[in-house]
């Protein structure tokens, strides 16, 4: 298990990671979501002992990374897309890493096969495409057969086939009982892969919940209503606990109430509706709305939803 306690990283006075508390447990895929620059990579680097936390701590099975007996056999990681020497062959890159944790040559062949690089194992890694390089990084993460695995943006730059492959791989690894922590800025990809999500924005924890709950709480509950008696309806709906924003002179974007409830409330008050439509926000939209406070993400936000979301 990975446990972060008040994990914080400051760069020259700027908070990159702000008092994060979360856990990554075995047997499931934990998605790590946030826009680019939210602090995902820094968090992962702190888990792996590459960056030192300014405050707080992150423990792997109760130990700091530097206390691990055999790091590769405890936690495997894909952090940088190209963490290899371009002049070294894929096999030699893996052999050098394997040696550090007394991992056999057979295991190197095994992981090469697992990621589909056997045929190019003796080619210099500098000749690899982005996708092949990514596979080599994944092979390195898998070397130690570790019960915990970290992947930082593993689908970046991959073709659809590669993305599908990674999705199946991560699901399979979790099914074997491993704890998978995978970061992405693509909500849609996470929805298909993760069981659990940890969402951060500007270094702060925004959500830490089951994927199913996250989807329920953050999508498909917006209703667009048009009525000539907008202000009246607005007051009424507010009394029923809804939050809303005006879209145009007679339109309202309502959250917190089911579409049917809105219709019934309007009917019982005798308010004519010109339009009543449930807007099923995609997960991408949900993610966007969750991130709306994030400055780096505000470039073209069209609809502002008010109120609190999980």
């Amino acid at each position: 298990m990975i446990e972060a306690h008040g994990l914080t990283k400051t760069y020259e006075g700027t908070l990159a990671v702000d008092h994060l508390d979360f856990q990554v447990v075995e047997g499931r895929v934990t998605g790590f979501l946030g826009p680019n620059g939210a602090g995902k990579s820094t968090t992962m680097r702190m888990i792996m002992g590459l960056d030192h936390p300014s405050e707080g701590s992150v423990l792997i099975n109760g130990q700091h990374f530097s206390e691990l007996k055999n790091p590769l056999r405890t936690i495997g990681a894909l952090l940088e897309a190209k963490a290899y020497h371009p002049g070294r062959t894929a096999r030699n890159h893996l052999l050098a890493l394997a040696a550090t944790n007394h991992i056999s040559k057979q295991r190197v062949d095994e992981v090469l096969d697992l990621v589909g690089l056997t045929s190019v194992a003796d080619r210099r890694a500098g000749t690899f495409s982005l996708g092949m390089g990514q596979r080599l990084g994944i092979a390195a993460a898998l070397l130690g057969d570790a019960p915990l695995l970290l992947f930082d943006e593993p689908v970046n730059g991959l073709d659809p086939e590669g993305i599908l492959w990674i999705r199946h791989l991560l699901r399979g690894l979790a099914a074997e009982g491993r704890g998978i922590f995978v970061s992405s800025h693509l909500m849609s990809e996470m929805a298909l892969t993760a069981d659990h999500v940890v969402v951060i924005g500007r270094g702060k924890l925004v959500a830490d919940t089951d994927m199913v709950n996250f989807i329920d709480a953050n999508s498909g509950k917006t209703t667009l209503v048009r009525t000539p008696r907008r202000e009246e309806l607005q007051t009424l709906l507010t009394e029923h606990g809804a939050t809303m924003t005006s879209v145009d002179p007679d339109g309202l974007q309502v959250t917190g109430l089911e579409t049917a409830e809105i219709g019934e409330i309007a009917f019982s008050a005798g308010i004519v509706l010109h339009e009543l439509a449930s807007v099923s926000a995609s997960l991408e939209d949900a993610f966007m709305s969750l991130m709306q406070d994030d400055v780096e993400f505000q470039s073209h936000t069209s609809v502002h939803l008010e109120g609190e979301r999980a």
Binding site: L50, H52, A83, H85, G87, R88, N92, L95, A99, G177
Partner: protein, 267 residues
């Protein structure tokens, strides 16, 4: 494949050493830099020997008297030491430049042990290479000198010390360079610093008033090397071994700073 939690032995220093060995032998730049070291050292030493042999008739009696065939046959070390130093620098900076360093550090729980493994592995390579090129230069040089100028037999006074000591000097200086590489992190910056310390600093010091330059000069790595190559004792310098000891002290200090930087900084 299932998740196993069998108890494993702790990562050992030997594991890290064997990893460094795989790394050093699996890139072309190692072989290339070693070849450059050998060609520069042996080639320029031979040229130096050939040149003086060809001009021996024009050499003044005073110069003939002071002629040191051993030191002359090692003149290529001037450039060879830089090439070996560059390899020392690359041991670390190549990992930073390629991003391999994050893979290395996430595979090892102690950065200090990784550094020590790099030092030990490179020290072995550097000593072997330093001694090979030093002895090869000496024998090639003596062969070119023989028949024209006086030559030095390996059994002569201080000759073996000079030749073997020069190989050792190259190796220690290259370890110094490795430490600079860790501190500076960038290949170009580290090479510039290294060349400045080894070659440019002595030139600057000669521009100072003699009394001052004599005092400073003996502390420079370059002077240590010159003294080691010579069979005669030089004025205003430490003895050959004391000088090498001084260089070793510099190297240990640089490596200690490197270790501190490595651990205090984010990778």
């Amino acid at each position: 494949m299932s998740v196993t939690t069998t108890t494993q032995r702790r990562q050992s220093f030997g594991d890290l050493l064997s990893s460094e060995w795989v790394k050093i032998r699996s890139v072309r730049s190692t072989i290339l830099t070693l070849l450059v070291t050998a060609v520069l050292t042996i080639g320029i030493s031979s040229l130096g020997a050939f040149a003086i042999a060809a001009n021996w008739n024009h050499v003044s009696p005073a110069q003939r008297l002071a002629f040191d065939p051993t030191s002359r046959s090692l003149s290529g070390v001037l450039l060879g030491q830089l090439a070996l130093g560059v390899l020392g620098i690359l041991v670390f900076t190549a990992e930073v430049a390629t991003g391999t360093i994050s893979a290395t550090f996430t595979a090892a729980s102690s950065r200090s042990k990784v550094l020590l493994a790099k030092i030990v592995m490179f020290a072995i390579v550097a000593i072997i290479v330093g001694e090979i090129v030093s002895f090869a230069s000496f024998f090639a040089g003596q062969a070119l000198l023989s028949g024209t100028t006086p030559t030095a037999p390996l059994g002569g006074t201080n000759v073996l010390r000079a030749v073997a000591g020069t190989g050792l000097y190259m190796a220690i200086l290259a370890l110094f360079a490795l430490g600079l590489g860790v501190i500076v992190r960038h290949t170009a910056g580290a090479i510039t610093t290294f060349v400045a310390l080894v070659l440019v600093l002595p030139l600057l010091v000669t521009a100072l008033p003699t009394s001052l330059s004599n005092d400073i000069n003996k502390f420079l790595p370059f002077t240590v090397g010159q003294t080691m190559m010579s069979v005669h004792s030089q004025p205003d310098t430490f003895s050959a071994w004391a000088g090498l000891g001084l260089l070793a002290v510099y190297t240990v200090l640089v490596l200690l700073i490197a270790n501190w930087r490595l651990n205090s900084r984010d990778a």
